[in-house]
Structure formats: structure tokens, C-alpha cells
């Protein structure tokens, strides 16, 4: 029979790599048919709610639960005393520290979990929370890490002040770790002798990932079968299963962890929270399912924050502007417990990517982690581990150096970029950048926005301002970023000892459709759409015929989960590899069916053809059917495969961003007139999904740069516990983004893809911030700290005498 369909049409039908296929998830999300943790309701289910500390630092003198227990519908009120016999009143953190599940003798931050009320419904539980009487004796509060390092007040009385922590010796009872990378003496020597040195201190304020859906879990202990099922907002469900098994003593095969639909994570849902542990214990104690879902304020005040880095930098250069050395010291405020979510050997994440996109011969990074009376966390909010801090640091240092040298900041970047021919590039702080072409991207970006024209306009505006004709000034924000994503090689990246590989398993059904399962879990990234595209191109069956499943540990292969833009670099690679295994077997089946030697058939889009005789072929559909209905000598029936992928290196996406902004110096109100984002994430799987990710990441970058913060007063009261004060931008505040791209495939990833979900956040924050700061540069600004909300922008103008 003659094949009427052209090859091009066959490619289109696959909806494989490069296709802007609509997201298959959206049918249910846009119709309110998602299935989130709070949608899970089981017969007889109880609800838990927390009694939380109003004090930031206090001794807990007594807890009286009598009145709460007397309320009809209250089943249990758990305190640390109840958890202690199980050894669950404390739990290990991902950072090698431990954290109280329920207050054990004292509380260390406002909002800390003190008691867990279990009742027949959510309303009764909340009423009972008010009836639990807790007597506190207030202790001195420390919210400043520098003061903490000087203070006699011991925050963590449970730790031996002399004993080393998880990351080596501690200098002080409130000190957590020192982490050093690079050559400090050598760097200092270079800086001391340099023509030009620029120094700056900057505070990257505390903020919060604030996913739309807060955290929660439903635990169901089936005492008859000895099985625990745990549904929860988990970015890493398999690791949760392992941790739950280690903590509870229940064998791992008797635990099933399910991440259902997740309404955003952004790092907030990587760690383990007291609520998860309490729901499990409560279910074991009561013998019925127990649900715990926090509210917005609880999410903002007690679950993992991001950033809170005090960064001090020194950068040196020759007279021509060639950077010669970089020194960075960070005082990291980790709050009451070190609950950062970083690979074990990286207590400050990948902060040592802070040499950025520049060829810097020598550098040093030192990070000191410190305890304070603030909520624990330190997660990577829409970025790979601490990369946003690193990129912000270097992109500000570049600007400050440009000011010091009275040079154009775009040109200074160009002079210092790592050159295309230098890749793979070994950075002074230990990374091997896999690939890049920075100059091409930079030139394309500057041309797209007519950079020289913008500078001319800005200069005219400065003159007009000086003449008193306008009160509006203009800023041009630049940023060039290099991300480091896809953790990661098992040899140096693990979480609680689990190597950071990932996995994909696929079963092709007899009629040529398939189900594939991965160790990752989508929280809005669109995995069900894009992973099917990778498989479609590799295997030759349409993406529409491939169901993607993630998040159920009873069915999915083990993987380390989704964060740090690792899904495409690691699980996406596993998907490509599993596709190749399927193809290898399919080739043998095709050869058998076509009665030729294996080597005489070749893959072509959706089929195997006999070399040199393209009219003789077997489609993947025919091959799949044959796999189940023919006895093929030497081959097992069926068509399925599994792949565990340990990446040889991280991937290094990069991009060039420009923001054009007006600032009203009298009110401090910024207006973003243009935002151009060029991203290079290597091979582009689904351009529409990429664009969506970029819009989202830029919007969160705008939020952080222009106002989003978790702020405390001196008493340790959280001042930003609601969305009235915690800035979550709406369509109104967000500019029209222009997106663009170059393609520099990763040389070691099976399809050359690099991951993109977090790039826009990483590159966006410095871009928005630089735009604000650049507007004030002609008036003498060097650096002002984020968040650039109205009053701080106004203060920048005021400090520069612009209101006189």
C-alpha cells in the first residue's frame, strides 16, 4: 500500500521535540478538576491544627490541654511529651541539623509548632487550638545574625556549643557552619595588587516561595495490613518515603507516598514539616486517616523561607576592565534550625557559582551560617541551590565595578565573558561549565533593545531632570546569568545520602500507546506534556498517546524529585535513554518482521525502514503489537524499559535580560516600560511551555526585587504574614514580557536540553534591581538594597538629595 502521508506530516503528528503542544494538564486545572491534597477526603478522616507560638523566643513553662480535650469533637492533643516515646519530638533536617516537631521545652521562632490538635473537623480543631493554654517565659530575641554571633544568649540549648556541626567546626554557640571554596590568600594577594578594586556590601532580603497551594498532608495508617499511605505536597515523594521509613521504623515497602496535583512548590515543598510528621503520628495513634493543611499565614510564617544572605564582595580589575579576582563573604541567616534544602555536601548550595558568566582567574567564597529567632528554611525559591543569591551578587558587583571605573556596564560584561572556545570551562570555584555562547546572546539582546539608543534617551532624561522639566528618571537594567541546574552527578550530590539521579520507566501497550512514569513530580511545570514529547521523538509514537505519571511511590521508579530545574536535565535524560532502550528492542522486532538483519533497518520518525528500501517498513504501532502477539526467537515478549540516569555533569543554561524602567522620584513608584528576556536552555522541547515558565519566573523575580519580603520587628514578630503585606503580583503589576532565545545544546545531555523553569527568576531579580539602581546611577547611587518597594526607592532618591 502506498504511504500517502509525507515525512513532514509524520513528524508533525508525533508532537515531539520542538512542538508547542498545548499542556495536557490544563484541561483539568482550568476547569477546577485538579486533585490536590485538600481534595482528598477519606471515610472517618480527622483534621489536625497547630497551636503555634506567639513568641519568637521563650521557655514553655506548661501546656494545659484539658479545656481543649473537653471540647466535643476533639480526639487528641499531641505535645512533645507524646511524641518523645516514639523519638519523634525532633526530626532531622535535610541540612544535617535537627528541628523540633513540637516545642520541646522552648520555642525559637514566632509561629513555631507547640501542640497538634486532632478533631472531627477543621472548625472544631481551630476552636480547640484557642483552648490550649500555654505558659511562656519570654527570652531575649535575636533577629540579626551579626548580633547573634556576638550574643551570650544561647539559642540552641540542645547543641553542645563545642561540638562540630554537620559541616565542621562551629565558632560560637549560635554559629552553624563555615563553608569555604577557592583560594583566599591568592585572591587577597591579587586584589591587594590590583589597579582597580570595587567593594560592596549587600543584603539579599528574606523572602518566601509562597506557592498558591500551601503545604499539607493526609496520613492513613491501615493497622490491619500494616500499610501507611501518605498524600502530601511533596516535591520529592520518594525521599519522603525513605525518611518516613527511617523515622517511623515502618518498612519502606509498607509505606506509600503520593504527591497528587501540587499547586506550585518553588522549593517550599522540598523539606519535611512538623505537620507531615504530626499527621502520621496522629493517624497511627487514632487508627483513622488524619489531614493537616496549613493556611496562608502559617505557610508564610513557619514554612521554609528563601534567601536572607548578607553578602560582602570585593572585585578587582585591570585598568582596561579585565576582572582579575573576586572575594565574597556571606553571613547566612538560617533562622532557628538549619533546614536548608541543599545537596548534603553544599551547605550554601551552589553559591560558588558566584563568579557568574565571567572568566575570573582567581576567587574565594566563604559562608557562615548563623542561628536566629526566625523561621527555619533557606530553600531555593525558583532557583537551583542559592544560585539566585550568587547571580545577584555578581551582577551587582559588575555594576559597582562599572561605576568605579566609570565604564558602561554592558561593555564591562562583554570584556569579561567566558568565550565560546573556552567551554568546557573550569571556574575558579570548581565548576565545569558544560557549554555556552555568551557573546552571541549578549549582542543579540543589546541589538534587540537598541541599547545605545536607550542610553541616549536616558542621558536626555537626566538632562531634562536637571533642568527641572521632569520628576521621572529612567533606568536600564542589565543582567547576564549562568545557571547551574540538574543536580546532579551522584558522585558529589546527594540528599540524606540518596544520590541525585533520576528515572523513567515506560510500558508500550499492544496498540501502540504507552504509559511512562518518572521519579520527578510536576508542580505546574507541565511534565505530562513535555516528557511525552521527549519520548515521542525517541520512540516514534505520538505524545498524545503517552500518559505520563509521577508522584506515586508504589508505581513510579525511585527518583529525587523536582526542584533546582533538575527534571529535564536528569529525568528528561532518563526519558530519552529509556526511549533508546525501547527503540533498540523495536529495531530487532522490526528486523524480524521485515525478515532482514537488525543492522539493515533504521529508525525514521515513527517506524523502522529497510535501509535503501523506504517502502518496506514497520510502524511503531505494528512493532508494539508484534511485541505482544508474536513469538520472536531470542526476544522476550512485551515492550517496556526502565532507565536510571546519573548525569555526568550539571547543565548551565544562560540568558541575557534587559529591563527599561521609569521611576517617579517623588513617590518612589517604578513603571516598567520594557522587559526583554533572551534564554538559552539548549534544545527547546516545547517553546510554549518555555515561554510560560519564563513569564512565571520573571513575575516572581519582579515580586522579589520590587517588594516581596518576610520582615520581622525586633521582637521577632513576623510583619508580613498575609498577602496584604506580602507582595504577590497580579496581571496589573506585570509588564508585557518580550522573550527571545539562542540555542546552545548541552554536550552531555542525551537531547541537549538544559532546564529553564528557574532561569528567569535567577536572571530576572538582578535585572529588575539593576534597573532601579541604574536610574539613580547618574545621580550618585552605588548600591541600595532590595526590595525596591515604593518607600525604599523614595529613600534612595531622598538620600541622594533629589527631594531638596
Amino acid at each position: 500500500m502506498k504511504d500517502e502521508v509525507t515525512r513532514e506530516e509524520r513528524v508533525t503528528k508525533l508532537k515531539g521535540l520542538g512542538c508547542s503542544r498545548k499542556r495536557v494538564e490544563d484541561a483539568r486545572f482550568t476547569q477546577g478538576k485538579g486533585n490536590y491534597v485538600d481534595d482528598i477526603n477519606l471515610p472517618g478522616m480527622l483534621t489536625g491544627d497547630f497551636v503555634r507560638s506567639p513568641c519568637a523566643h521563650a521557655r514553655v513553662k506548661s501546656i494545659n490541654t484539658d479545656a481543649a480535650m473537653a471540647l466535643e469533637g476533639v480526639v487528641a492533643v499531641l505535645t512533645a511529651k507524646d511524641l518523645e516515646p516514639l523519638g519523634l519530638h525532633w526530626m532531622p533536617t535535610l541540612a544535617g541539623d535537627k528541628q523540633m516537631v513540637l516545642a520541646d521545652g522552648k520555642v525559637l521562632f514566632q509561629g513555631q509548632e507547640v501542640a497538634f490538635v486532632v478533631a472531627t473537623d477543621r472548625y472544631i480543631a481551630s476552636d480547640a487550638v484557642e483552648l490550649v493554654e500555654v505558659e511562656y517565659e519570654e527570652l531575649p530575641v535575636i533577629v540579626d545574625p551579626f548580633k547573634s554571633m556576638q550574643s551570650d544568649v544561647v539559642l540552641r540549648e540542645d547543641l553542645d556549643p563545642k561540638a562540630p556541626g554537620a559541616h565542621g567546626p562551629r565558632k560560637h554557640h549560635n554559629h552553624i557552619f563555615t563553608w569555604e571554596v577557592g583560594d583566599e590568600a591568592g585572591t587577597n594577594a591579587v586584589i591587594d595588587d590590583a589597579d582597580i578594586v570595587a567593594e560592596e556590601s549587600m543584603y539579599y532580603h528574606r523572602t518566601h516561595p509562597c506557592p498558591l497551594e500551601p503545604c499539607g498532608s493526609v496520613a492513613s495508617m491501615d493497622k490491619v495490613n500494616g500499610k501507611l499511605t501518605l498524600w502530601g505536597t511533596f516535591q520529592a515523594p520518594h525521599v519522603v518515603r525513605t525518611v518516613a521509613s527511617l523515622l517511623s521504623g515502618i518498612e519502606e515497602h509498607n509505606i506509600r507516598v503520593v504527591s497528587p496535583d501540587i499547586g506550585g512548590g518553588f522549593g517550599n515543598k522540598v523539606g519535611v514539616y512538623p505537620g507531615y510528621v504530626c499527621s502520621i503520628v496522629a493517624s497511627i495513634v487514632t487508627g483513622v486517616p488524619v489531614k493537616w493543611v496549613e493556611d496562608r499565614m502559617e505557610n508564610l510564617m513557619s514554612t521554609a523561607f528563601a534567601r536572607d544572605y548578607w553578602m560582602k564582595g570585593k572585585i578587582s580589575a585591570t585598568k582596561e576592565g579585565k576582572i582579575t579576582g573576586l572575594h565574597c563573604h556571606v553571613t547566612a541567616d538560617h533562622g532557628a534550625f538549619d533546614a536548608c534544602a541543599d545537596p548534603t555536601k553544599f551547605p550554601a548550595g551552589f553559591m560558588n557559582i558566584c563568579t557568574g558568566s565571567y572568566d575570573i582567574p582567581i576567587a574565594y567564597l566563604g559562608v557562615d551560617g548563623v542561628y536566629t529567632n526566625k523561621a527555619p528554611g533557606g530553600v531555593s525559591y525558583r532557583c537551583s541551590f542559592r544560585v539566585t543569591e550568587a547571580v545577584y551578587f555578581i551582577e551587582r558587583m559588575i555594576e559597582v565595578l562599572a561605576i568605579e571605573m566609570n565604564m558602561d556596564a554592558a561593555e564591562l560584561r562583554r570584556i569579561n565573558f567566558i568565550k565560546k572556545e573556552q567551554f568546557p570551562y573550569h571556574s575558579a570555584l570548581g565548576w565545569e561549565y558544560d557549554s555556552g555562547d555568551y557573546h552571541t546572546a549578549w549582542d543579540k539582546a543589546l541589538k534587540a533593545v537598541d541599547y545605545d539608543g536607550l542610553r541616549k534617551k536616558q542621558a536626555e532624561r537626566v538632562e531634562a531632570f536637571k533642568r527641572g522639566e521632569t520628576r521621572s528618571i529612567m533606568g536600564i537594567g542589565l543582567s547576564f546569568f549562568t545557571e547551574i541546574v540538574g543536580a546532579g552527578p551522584v558522585k558529589n550530590c546527594d540528599i540524606l545520602g540518596m544520590g541525585m539521579f533520576d528515572s523513567c520507566e515506560i510500558r508500550i501497550h499492544p496498540t501502540g500507546s504507552a504509559v511512562a512514569r518518572l521519579g520527578t513530580i510536576s508542580q505546574g511545570q507541565g511534565h505530562a506534556t513535555t516528557f511525552a514529547q521527549i519520548l515521542a521523538s525517541e520512540i516514534g509514537i505520538s505524545a498524545d498517546s503517552i500518559t505520563i505519571e509521577e508522584g506515586d511511590t508504589d508505581t513510579a521508579p525511585y527518583g529525587l524529585g523536582t526542584y533546582g530545574s533538575r527534571s529535564t536535565p536528569v529525568a528528561g535524560a532518563a526519558a530519552a535513554m529509556v526511549g533508546r532502550k525501547i527503540r533498540a528492542k523495536a529495531q530487532m522486532i522490526a528486523a524480524y518482521l521485515l525478515e532482514v538483519h537488525d543492522d539493515d533497518v533504521e529508525f525514521d520518525v515513527d517506524r523502522f525502514v529497510v535501509k535503501g528500501a523506504p517502502e518496506r517498513f514497520k510502524t511503531m504501532g505494528e512493532i508494539a503489537y508484534a511485541a505482544y502477539n508474536q513469538a520472536i526467537p531470542g526476544l522476550e515478549p512485551g515492550l517496556e524499559a526502565v532507565s536510571y540516569y546519573d548525569p555526568p555533569n550539571m547543565t548551565y543554561p544562560f540568558g541575557a535580560y534587559v529591563c527599561v524602567m521609569d521611576i517617579d522620584v517623588d513617590t518612589g513608584v517604578p513603571t516598567i516600560n520594557r522587559f526583554y528576556a533572551l534564554d538559552d536552555c539548549g534544545t527547546r522541547i516545547n517553546p510554549m511551555v518555555i515561554e510560560g515558565q519564563i513569564h512565571g519566573g520573571l513575575t516572581e523575580a519582579l515580586a522579589v526585587a520590587l517588594g516581596q519580603e518576610i520582615a520581622y520587628d525586633d521582637m521577632g514578630n513576623c510583619k508580613t504574614g498575609t498577602l496584604m503585606d506580602f507582595f504577590l503580583p497580579t496581571a496589573w503589576e506585570v509588564p508585557n514580557y518580550e522573550t527571545d532565545f539562542t540555542v546552545t545544546p548541552s554536550p552531555h545531555h542525551p537531547i541537549g536540553a538544559k532546564g529553564v523553569g528557574e532561569s528567569p527568576h535567577v536572571g530576572g531579580v538582578p535585572c529588575f534591581s539593576n534597573a532601579v539602581q541604574d536610574a539613580f546611577r547618574p545621580f550618585g547611587n552605588r548600591h541600595t538594597n532590595m526590595p525596591h518597594d515604593h518607600w525604599r526607592i523614595w529613600k534612595a532618591a531622598n538620600d541622594l538629595g533629589m527631594h531638596d
Binding site: 491544627d49 499565614m297 517623588d666 517588594g707 520582615a711 518607600w791 523614595w794
Partner: protein, 284 residues
């Protein structure tokens, strides 16, 4: 964010509502759009054992304009205010101000009555009503009384309304003046950092009358008679506006919050007031 238990009442006339109020005293409160009261109940900052929903009381709804007098039922939503063409023709400042309140979702629910009765210094309508010299009609078991908006506010959340009274209507004269409602906020859905309502009429090239009121710059809305006086009789030139701003700033007493410290608020208030005056004058 879970409120305590409460009884829900839904009377179909004002008498019914008044009798529940009388029966339960300060244990009871009326519910309009719920977009101020319900969040307070969820935060357990307001304890309301008896909630009286006013939404079935037809008499509290609607806008009438007759003989130059505008009467707005307390249960009229901000969305309805914005979309009422006759109201826009008679008092365009209402639409301009209402569009700066919260976001569309809140405006579908929030009512003018709830907004002015609430007594939150952040609410935009109270300052606007003072600027317009509106009258609030209050009904209690002892009858009906009229209170000028300018006399209604005592301190944050404390008003001249008796606990057992219901605000039924708001009335004010239609305007024939240059108008402006100017507001600075951090984002959509935020209360004002500083806001100002201004009405200015012209006689020849001089200011004939002026009315200037401000929002969220004290614990109550502030009508600045001194600011108005500074404008009247002038050509609304830079010096006059400056004098008016200086006078208005004398009348306010902002406090520091997450929007910024007092110095910032005073400065922004000055800018917002001068912009409101300038825009109102340009339309006079």
C-alpha cells in the same frame, strides 16, 4: 483562618434586622459584602456570635437621582457604583474612586454601606464622602437620623453609629465641579499609602469653592478645611497649591507601617494632594 461558630440570620426587611440587633446587642453585627468583616472573623479578631446578612433587604439596594440629590442604598456594591451611567454623569468622582478600591472580585461583593460603616482608616469611601459632604441615614428602633459624613468618624473602627443602628442610605448633592481621586498603593488590592479626594469649582479664572479630604493618613478620614481655604480665591497656581498642601499636611497624622515610615508618607501625601488638586482644577 477559620472563624469561630456563629448564628446566621437573614431577615428580609429592615425591621427584622433591627429586631435581631436589639435582641443580641453587641453579640450581633450586620453583614454586607463581608469583605472587611469576614477576614476579621477568620483571623478571630472579630467575634460575632450573631451575623445578620442584609442581602435580602431590597430597600437597602439601588441608586436614585432626583432634583440634584443622589441617594445610594447601603447595599449597593462598588461594582454597581462603577457601572451606573447616571451616577457617573451626576458624580463622576465616585467611579474614579471606586475603580481604585481593591480588585474586581472584591468590588463585586463590597458595598458602599460596608465601606463607610466599617470605620477602617484604609477605606476609601469615607474620605470621599467627607469631600462630598454626604449625609448618612441611620435607622434604629428609635427612628431615623441623619449624620454628616464629616461628623461620623471618631477613631479607628469607632463611628457615631450606635451598635443597634443600621446605615440604610447615603445622600449627597450631584456635583458640578472639577474632581479627582488620587491614590498611591503598593499593588492592586492594597489600601492607600496616601489618597486624596478633591473637588474644585471655578469662577472666572479663580477657585470658587474647594473640598479636600484624605484617606489612610490618620486614624480617621481627614477633611482639610484649611487646605480648601488656601485655594479659594486663587488661580490655583503653584504657590496656592503649595499652601494648600502645607495646610493639609498639618491636618494629618500618619503612622509607620509596612508601606513606609512617617516621613515618606508625609512626602507622598503632599505629592498626592497636589496631584489631586491639579487634576481637579484641570477639570473645573
Amino acid at each position: 483562618m477559620i472563624p469561630a461558630a456563629f448564628e446566621y440570620h437573614r431577615p428580609s426587611d429592615i425591621e427584622g434586622a433591627l429586631s435581631v440587633l436589639a435582641e443580641h446587642g453587641d453579640e450581633a453585627r450586620v453583614l454586607a459584602g463581608g469583605h472587611s468583616l469576614i477576614p476579621m472573623m477568620k483571623l478571630r479578631m472579630a467575634d460575632v456570635p450573631h451575623l445578620i446578612d442584609l442581602q435580602d433587604i431590597a430597600d437597602l439596594k439601588g441608586i436614585t437621582i432626583a432634583d440634584g440629590i443622589i441617594t445610594i442604598g447601603a447595599m449597593t456594591t462598588q461594582h454597581e457604583l462603577i457601572n451606573h451611567e447616571a451616577l457617573f454623569a451626576a458624580a463622576p468622582i465616585i467611579r474614579e474612586a471606586a475603580l481604585q478600591i481593591a480588585d474586581p472580585q472584591v468590588r463585586y461583593m463590597g458595598t458602599i454601606g460596608g465601606n463607610v460603616a466599617n470605620g477602617d482608616p484604609g477605606n476609601d469611601m469615607p474620605g470621599l464622602m467627607q469631600c462630598l459632604d454626604a449625609q448618612f441615614i441611620l435607622v434604629g428602633v428609635d427612628g431615623t437620623r441623619k449624620v454628616p459624613a464629616r461628623d461620623f468618624y471618631e477613631s479607628a473602627y469607632m463611628t457615631n453609629r450606635d451598635d443597634e443602628e443600621i446605615l440604610t442610605h447615603i445622600t449627597f448633592a450631584s456635583i458640578d465641579a472639577g474632581y479627582a481621586y488620587e491614590k498611591q498603593k503598593r499593588k492592586i488590592g492594597d489600601y492607600a499609602t496616601a489618597a486624596c479626594a478633591a473637588l474644585v469649582t471655578k469662577d472666572g479664572d479663580k477657585v470658587a469653592t474647594a473640598s479636600i479630604a484624605m484617606t489612610n493618613l490618620s486614624d480617621v478620614p481627614v477633611l482639610s478645611e484649611a487646605a480648601a481655604a488656601a485655594l479659594i480665591g486663587t488661580t490655583c497656581d503653584t504657590a496656592a497649591v503649595k499652601a494648600a498642601v502645607a495646610a493639609a499636611l498639618e491636618d494629618i497624622d500618619p503612622t509607620e507601617d509596612n508601606r513606609g515610615p512617617v516621613a515618606f508618607k508625609m512626602h507622598v501625601a503632599g505629592i498626592i494632594i497636589s496631584r489631586a488638586i491639579a487634576r481637579a482644577w484641570s477639570r473645573a
